[in-house]
Symmetry: C2
Subunit: 348 residues, 2 copies
DNA sequence: CTGAAAGCGCTAACAT
DNA sequence: ATGTTAGCGCTTTCAG
């Protein structure tokens, strides 16, 4: 490991000068020629700061803690993490991901992160729910990802469920579907459900059609759900389906198979892909909406860093739409709509 | 943050004494009464070591790097991470997970981990392949998880594919299946395929049956695969299927649905669940084999720590079988067979 | 403009 | 058995 001392020796200046140069605080304080020389030698020797050592003085580790209890079970958590990591490394931070498999160990893990001096935290869920924030995080810079806190005090990045549903439904309309059903979610606390239903309804009505309650079924992810979808099939004969998630799209798929119908020919399905079932298995047959996990992670981390560094962030560049949806049944996941929910933030 | 200095002041001893006590190096060096007092005060004040500070002297951060390029795409990566994390925290280590989405950034991320002083690395894949280890990791303590290095020099933890297949097939035999097919993998470099096929064959033959080549199809995960399985269905009429993974089990499922057959009644399927398709969607219908990701992560981390600390590890307690398989079609994922592949290790 | 010096929290020789 | 001292690599006054 090459240290500042070594650079100082090689260049004949003092460590403090090297420090100034390496931290880009040399403007008008170090003679440009010297600064250049120092930089050259540092490059040559392959100098890298020792974050541990500097954190001792500065109380900044450039470590971000990413806490999620669902990394273990949902594949798309990876996207969020990748996004957050990408922003982190862009700003010179390191992301420490901690998976807290349920409650007990969570507090301990957060404590460990704090011991290691994390400068701030990302607290993530895999589907937007009202989420109690662990007390231990109360006085740290904090951003929620795909989650909402009960008091509306913590900044968060969430998908724009309304627009997701609106566009998905619009897509089915464009594809010429006459009777479009919504297979929603009846589980409590799922923030997405309201927005999705509203978006679905708005798209239908904006197209000059009448909203038909009977084309909506809200189900849980279990046995009775299959029956509910089956009944929907027989009674309403929809030719287009917007599904809350892939588990629900699966019921549609199964019902179709049992009736000798082919998705993509006899009926169209657009669903939100939460568990990669679409991507891994059904993608050839279904059009999927992939939530912008990467973007959510990215912007959440960017926001967090701005909080930590007390900078402002140019939120105008944030994507409200990250990509247009692909043609129906093309099987290419679409990333759409990531909206930032800005809240009064708890600083440091 | 409470420091050793504060404890020293409160107890009227020197910092070095406190250090000795807090590191459990006080046996015979510090008077028991004093040690107890120090500990009491430390407890009271809620003292926690500052790992950054001690790492500066000791060159040990108690940080483990977990590197995987597939965390982003495979849900079960979470299990590995959880396992590794669990072992880490048990031994007083912190796990830093880094997802390297493909090649380029990988080297950078590893470099960052090394700057942060990681004591050792776990390098993981999500399905056992021959894997070139990044050069940068060459001189670090390193353990592979679900991966094999080309030269056989790096210690690794891998699933016992033979036993997995043997037991899965055995299960189908026990269920009374007469014609058991194997839907395997024709992709190159998949170490699991050989073991699985061998295990399948051995189970068949040990049951006094004749191995029938025509009941084996090895396919890729794509369109022609469905046709191949479809042909298998029509030509050989199997009543039991052992599937390489869930994507392949899906083909079986679809073929059955199209023929009006019900899995779990007209035919039995046991498959390895790589992508949670089973767990999330098909579990009511299929018996699944869930690879012991948690255990692999756990033991890999434990092994790594023993390497770092130059301790030996009691490998006799390692689980060769972690749980018996559940009754057929119960839909409960089974964790089976995790074998440690011990290699000549590259030390520190 | 540059350097000397102090100190972040902790560990480890070396004294006592 | 305990304290003194030096120093890990870096940042940051403060003098010059």
């Amino acid at each position: 490991m090459v240290t500042m001392k070594q650079i100082a020796e090689r260049t004949g200046v003092s460590v403090s000068t090297v420090s100034l140069v390496m931290n880009h605080r040399d403007e008008g304080r170090v003679k440009p020629a010297i600064a250049a020389h120092v930089r050259a030698v540092a490059d040559e020797l392959g100098y890298r700061v020792n974050p541990m050592a500097s954190s001792l003085r500065t109380n900044r580790t450039h470590i971000l803690g990413f806490i999620s209890e669902e990394v273990a079970t949902t594949p798309y958590a990876g996207g969020m993490i990748l996004g957050a990591q990408s922003a982190a490394s862009q700003y010179g931070y390191m992301l420490i991901t901690v998976s807290t498999d349920g409650g007990m160990d969570e507090d301990e893990e957060i404590e460990a992160l704090q011991r290691y001096g994390a400068d701030g935290f990302l607290y993530a869920k895999m589907s937007n729910r009202v989420t109690e924030v662990p007390r231990r995080l109360n006085d740290c810079p904090l951003v929620l990802v795909d989650a909402t806190d009960p008091d509306g005090l913590v900044p968060s990045v969430e998908p724009d469920e309304y627009r997701i549903a609106y566009d998905a439904t619009r897509r089915l309309l464009d594809a010429g579907c006459g009777r479009i059903a919504y297979v929603g979610c009846s589980e409590g606390g799922m923030i997405a459900q309201q927005g999705r239903l509203a978006g679905y309804r708005a798209a239908i009505e904006d197209a000059g059609r009448k909203f038909n309650e009977r084309l909506v079924v809200n189900v849980l992810n279990n046995g009775p759900a299959l029956e509910a979808v089956s009944d929907l099939f027989d009674w309403e004969r929809p030719d287009g389906f917007f599904c809350f998630n892939d588990a629900r799209a699966w019921y549609v798929y199964e019902c179709a198979a049992r009736r000798g119908l082919t998705v993509g020919r006899d009926l169209s399905v657009v669903g939100v892909d939460n568990h990669r079932v679409f991507a891994e298995t059904l993608s050839p047959q279904l059009t999927t909406v992939e939530l912008p996990h990467f973007e959510m992670g990215y912007w959440a981390a960017a926001k967090l860093i701005s909080l930590i560094e007390d900078r402002s962030l140019d939120e105008s560049e944030w994507p409200s739409t990250t990509a247009p949806m692909p043609p129906l049944d093309a099987g290419i996941p679409a990333k759409i709509h990531c909206r930032l929910i800005e809240k009064e933030s708890v600083v440091r």
